[in-house]
């Protein structure tokens, strides 16, 4: 699509030719994930995670559709219907554990995918739109995961619905009516459960649509690569198929092995025991935490403990949303012309500090809201915002990047340029 030397699709037989003139889906596939999409030859294993995220979404959609055939979105029956799936439905336990742990694995691969983008500068021109769509997908995933977590109607489900909609109540003037509008009542109940079920079914398809746009936007400039430098010519690329399909096949195998180990041998490891107690509006569990993939944001939410002009609660809500909104501005906050962190000595250090900081935030978000955890989460939150809003803009001015290789081929082969040959698809 993007490079003039991309392989052209030629229908192999009369039927494909007939098809190509009427509905060129094979051509579309060929050009987007087939031999017609030239990809930098030097991608490392971190570039597997985009495809893995797509695989994770497909697992969620397929298992979700069949689970919906047995689940009952009614406050008095939802919990029992999940137990019915676990006990009586044929392979029901497998489908539910896959869906439940699949959500966690989806977030694992997406978080690695995001860190990959952060380190190698994939958010920079000309791929800003790819990044922006990615952040939209992340927000949609979070909404979907939250609503899905409410569906089993266990204690954690119920109190998640209560607490998360309660965040909106912090908004001045309209907050309380907004929360009631979200819940369809004064507390989570049947109306809440039904709308969450409806939206939980809808949003994955919206995500799918955004992923198509994400890939479309990616294919115009083509994929970034570990050196961050632009593709200069045919010798820098190889066709997506068979090279990266083969590599992604291997990656998918490793991903499925990891998923299978958790699903079959530790299916409740990533969950919370309290969600095996049916929702009880009259009793809050002693220690409520969201699912692990929300812990960093939960830590940011709880880091604000003192009123300062605005209420502490409102600050927490603003900061939590800001922690994601800030990602939208990243392409314009970091103005360094060099994409890859490999050639940015200062950026590289701060990047790893950020990784540690976010892991610390995750740990603190899962910890009880006591000292000294709160103080640590305040320090970690300070760094999170400082990293994106203060440190990145500053180092992009002061940093002196390392010399860049002249081309991807040179980076791959060192000085020995003679053996690099353009590659055609078989």
């Amino acid at each position: 699509m993007s490079f003039p030397w991309a392989e052209q699709y030629t229908p192999k037989n009369p039927f494909m030719k007939w098809m190509d003139e009427r509905l060129p889906i094979p051509r579309l596939v060929y050009n987007s994930v087939g031999a017609g999409y030239p990809v930098p030859r030097n991608l490392n294993y971190f570039w597997n995670f985009g495809v893995l995220a797509g695989l994770a979404l497909m697992i969620q959609i397929v298992t979700g559709i069949v689970l919906a055939m047995h689940y009952t979105p009614e406050a008095g029956m939802a919990f029992a219907s999940v137990e019915h799936i676990m006990r009586d439905v044929n392979s029901g336990w497998l489908l539910r554990y896959l869906h439940f742990n699949g959500a966690s694995f989806f977030f694992i691969v997406v978080y690695i995918h995001i860190f990959r983008g952060l380190y190698f500068g994939s958010y920079k021109a000309p791929r800003e739109m790819v990044w922006l769509l990615g952040v939209v997908i992340l927000l949609l995933m979070m909404a979907t995961a939250f609503m899905g977590y409410v569906l089993p109607w266990g204690q954690m489900s119920y109190w998640a619905a209560q607490v998360i909609t309660g965040l909106f109540a912090a908004i001045p003037l309209v907050g309380e009516s907004l929360q009631q509008w979200l819940l369809g009542g004064f507390a989570p109940d049947n109306a809440t459960l039904n709308r969450f079920f409806s939206l939980h079914y809808l949003l994955p398809f919206v995500i799918l649509g955004c992923i198509i746009l994400h890939i479309w936007a990616l294919h115009l400039p083509g994929s970034n690569n570990p050196t961050g430098i632009d593709v200069k010519g045919p010798q820098d690329t190889i066709p997506f198929h068979p090279y990266y399909t083969a590599k992604d096949g291997f990656g998918a195998g490793v991903f499925l092995i990891a998923l299978a180990i958790v699903v079959f041998f530790a299916p409740n490891f990533l969950g919370h025991a309290d969600n095996y107690i049916e929702a009880n509006p009259l009793s809050t569990p002693a220690h409520i935490v969201p699912e692990w993939y929300f812990w960093p944001f939960y830590a940011i939410l709880r880091a604000f403990t003192v009123d300062f002009i605005l209420e502490a609660k409102l600050w927490g809500v603003i900061a939590m949303f800001a922690s994601i909104i800030v990602l939208f501005f990243l392409p314009w906050l970091d103005r360094s012309p060099v994409r890859s962190g490999t050639f940015r000595p200062k950026f590289k250090i701060w990047f790893w500090v950020l990784v540690v900081d976010i892991i610390a935030l995750a740990y603190l978000g899962g910890a009880p809201a006591e000292e000294p955890y709160v103080m640590f989460s305040q320090i970690a939150t300070i760094y999170y915002f400082a990293h994106f809003l203060i440190i990145l803009p500053l180092i992009s001015r002061t940093e002196r990047p390392l010399p860049l290789p002249n081309s991807i081929t040179e980076a791959v082969l060192g000085k020995d340029k003679t053996t690099a040959q353009p590659v055609a698809a078989e």
């Binding site: 397929v62 069949v66 055939m69 047995h70 019915h84 006990r87 009586d88 439905v89 044929n90 392979s91 029901g92 497998l94 489908l95 068979p242 083969a246 096949g249």
Partner: protein, 189 residues
Amino acid sequence: MATEDHVDQPAADQPEEGVRRRDFLNVAAVSVAGVGGVIAILPLVNQMNPDADVLALASIDVDLSAVEPGQTIKTSWRKQPLFIRHLTEDEIAEARAVDVSALRDPQTLEERTAEGYEQWLISLAVCTHLGCIPLGAAPGENKGEFGGYFCPCHGSHYDTAGRIRKGPAPTNLVVPEYAFTSDTTVTIG
């Protein structure tokens, strides 16, 4: 990735053999992935089969002591309606008088009832044509031209042994498996 170097070497010296082995590996990998994909579909299909709690309702006990000759009771088994008819002497005689070989679905009354309990005609109340419930159970309902059941949807007539005699239905009313546990109780399913 200890195998990496190991795999890279052999084919270079033996291109012929190498090419075949390379193709074989790729074909094998894709085939195994295909097999895995097909296996993964099995639970997705199987989940639509009846659940364990539905299957657990597969047998019911019915008390027949209050059913007089000539009376039919309607009950339900596996969520399907079921007729239990206490045949009168006349109805039994009528059913036996029929020339079985001339029937669309040849069966004698004895084949359709339990030995020693020929007066109890137990059948699904589901017309074998397209699944409506035939009339003829409640007093005053149209029993059809042959005194058994009549399905109003498309006009199938069943006789006093529940056999199809006229109309579009292809087979006799289905007789479920059952066993009498005493003279007045029957276990169906």
